[in-house]
């Protein structure tokens, strides 16, 4: 194996890995404030990419992306307000079924709006064949866009949760909802905010990656499974763990092509998911004691 090929595999692995990490962080944000795993998480990603493609027909790319992210955030807020907000301590089973239902509805709506065809945004800079030299090898600039945007997003989220007062309020909610409420934090608004945030980052990731991977109405479920795998692998609720786990899964998938047919690439993440669930549900970086305290 030449160095160049190896490098290409690593780049592909990192690109996908960071996308999975963003989806996983979307899971984490909602899980932290509500204890819910939002099975419709992948749909935000799809919605962002699809909306941007449509809007791009009428307006310049940056504007289209911004608007698409905004639209998806509004959808996220609506979903929370219509379906989640007014439920009084729903059971886990009920929440699973409701979010699955939401994901089906969003997907079916997308099918009727955009049909089954595959869409993609144009490359942000250059086109399919443009490449730039990084040391001895050449990579597509879009890859840099993906890695760059996602990294900035992760860092921005991190400082949002740690530095801003709103972010701290959200963390307070996830640590102890009742105590947070006593301090005058509106837990319900924090939940809405978590849906908005999680929809927003999903949509943005969907936009930047669409030139490479394309988007279709049905990509949500597969992406959600991978995002969930990464979220578990990194320890549910732990966003830095998600980044590390995302990279691990991305690289694993990328290098799996050496040993097995591409058709089974998707099976890797499911196998990883099943193994980690059976062996260490607290994730690679979480402590199993802490996991025992969580309510599943």
């Amino acid at each position: 194996m030449s160095f160049e090929l190896l490098f290409q595999y690593v780049v592909a692995g990192v690109t996908y890995g960071i996308i999975y990490a963003v989806v996983a962080i979307g899971f984490n944000i909602i899980y932290n404030t509500t204890g819910i795993i939002n099975f419709a998480q992948g749909e935000f990603f799809m919605l962002g990419g699809m909306t941007a493609v449509t809007l791009n027909a009428f307006m310049p790319l940056p504007l289209a992306i911004m608007l698409a992210v905004l639209v998806t955030m509004v959808v996220g807020a609506l979903i929370e307000m219509i379906f989640i907000r007014w439920l009084i301590s729903p059971s886990v089973l009920r929440m699973i079924i409701i979010t699955i239902g939401i994901s089906i509805l969003v997907r079916e709506a997308a099918l009727h709006i955009w049909d089954e065809s595959v869409h993609a945004l144009p490359y942000f800079t250059g086109n399919e064949v443009t490449s730039i030299a990084v040391g001895p090898v050449r990579i597509s600039p879009q890859v840099l866009w993906v890695i760059g945007t996602c990294t900035v997003m992760v860092l921005a989220l991190n400082s949002f949760f740690n530095q801003t007062s709103l972010g701290r309020q959200m963390r307070a909610c996830s640590a102890n909802r009742d105590a947070a409420r006593l301090c005058g934090i509106s837990a319900k608004n924090m939940v809405t905010l978590s849906f908005v945030l999680s929809a927003g980052i999903g949509a943005l990731a969907g936009c930047v990656v669409s030139p490479i991977t394309y988007v279709q109405y049905s990509i949500g479920t597969g992406l959600a499974i991978k995002g969930f795998t990464v979220a578990i692998l990194g320890g549910l609720g732990n966003s830095l763990g998600a980044v590390a786990a995302g990279l691990i899964l991305g690289l694993l998938e990328s290098f799996s092509i050496w040993v097995m047919p591409t058709a089974y690439k998707d099976a890797i993440s499911i196998a990883v998911l099943l193994v980690i669930l059976f062996v260490r549900p607290s994730g690679l970086f979480g402590s199993s004691e802490a996991a025992n305290l969580k309510e599943f």
Partner: protein, 355 residues
């Protein structure tokens, strides 16, 4: 007491016969085809109802077991074993009636596994898989269990979609009928439509009767106890892992059996039967039926499947099921037949005042 227990079953039998008579009188025999299919889906749903509604263990992978039954039986009854013909093994199996020759569509004689054998093998295989998968999976709870079963379903889907031996995206077609008894063949031919209808509903009624007595027994009580408070159930000496596993295997076997029969009835099976959406539909029906209600599940399942199979939902088929899931879970988590709309609205209003 005894009368009260068998009365509902008798009513069901009456309804089944009545429906058949009505289709005869009104000359709408073609309905029987979808009614037969509905009954087979009913088997899957009953099993899932036991697992989800009574034992409280969600499965988002039941289409996987259904497909396993259908695909394996389809494979065994269509795979040409002509190569075995001369061998002593082949002749031995043929004398034992485990292999049968038949003419295919083009008049060629093929040698393949007897449907009874393939049916038993397919159901047994699915049960063994359920046993092996269930061990580790059922230790999980809530979201983790949902995701693990979903993952299992996706793997089955990928395998049938990606394997040439299972026909990839096309699946199987030209699957022969399944002569259950001499003269009664599970197949879609119009001449055996009535017999198939009675066979399917008879099987469903028997299953329902069995499951009803199961849920009203010591076992059913233990299952509901596991659902309600697993710790307390264990403190009462209930072997919770074994019970969960047994229910899982039972429901998987029912799904596989339904898969086998429906595949022979339709003469075909495709990957859509193994898809996540198919699993979600089963879950939706159990939810609409009220989770822990075999009768509710049967009623709602029959209505929804009938409407869906007759094409009333058109291209909105999946959307309808998704919508139903949400609406039921939001407004009537105990099922449509047990919903008290006014009481719920009142409790909602009270809830928002407090919250």
């Amino acid at each position: 007491m005894v009368v009260r227990r068998v009365l509902p079953t008798l009513i069901l039998i009456g309804l089944v016969v009545l429906t058949e008579q009505v289709t005869r009188i009104t000359d709408t025999r073609y309905y029987l085809t979808q009614l037969t299919m509905t009954a087979y889906y009913g088997l899957v749903i009953m099993g899932l109802c036991l697992l989800m509604g009574y034992a409280g263990q969600i499965s988002l992978g039941h289409a996987g077991f259904f497909a396993m039954g259908g695909y394996l039986s389809g494979l065994m009854t269509t795979y040409n074993l002509e190569a075995l013909k001369g061998s002593s093994l082949g002749s031995m199996l043929t004398t034992l009636n485990l292999l049968v020759s038949r003419k295919d569509l083009y008049g060629d004689v093929t040698l393949s596994v007897h449907p009874w054998v393939s049916c038993i093998l397919a159901v047994a295989f699915a049960s063994v898989v359920a046993y092996l998968v269930g061990g580790p999976v059922l230790r999980l709870k809530g979201h983790y269990l949902a995701m693990a079963t979903l993952g299992f379903g996706i793997i089955v889907y990928r395998v049938v979609l990606g394997s040439a031996i299972f026909g990839e995206a096309d699946g199987f077609s030209d699957i022969p009928g399944f002569a259950v008894f001499p003269g009664v063949e599970v197949s879609g031919r119009a001449s055996v439509r009535v017999a198939n209808y009675y066979l399917a509903w008879g099987l469903l009624t028997l299953t329902l009767a069995g499951l009803l007595s199961l849920v009203n027994s010591r076992i059913g009580r233990a299952l509901r106890a596991i659902h309600g408070a697993e710790d307390a159930a264990r403190a009462m000496g209930i072997n919770t892992p074994r019970f969960k596993l047994q229910v899982f295997v039972l429901s998987a076997a029912l799904a596989a059996l339904a898969g086998v029969l429906l595949t022979h009835f339709n003469g075909a099976i495709g990957p859509a039967q193994a898809s996540v959406m198919a699993s979600v539909r089963y879950v939706a029906i159990v939810a609409v039926g009220g989770m822990a209600s075999l009768w509710g599940t049967l009623t709602m399942g029959s209505v929804l499947n009938m409407l869906s199979l007759r094409g009333y939902f058109g291209s909105l088929d999946d959307a309808v099921f998704g919508g139903i899931l949400i609406v039921i879970m939001l407004f009537a988590p105990d099922g449509l037949l047990r919903a008290h709309p006014l009481a719920r609205i009142r409790s909602l209003l009270r809830g928002t005042e407090e919250g």
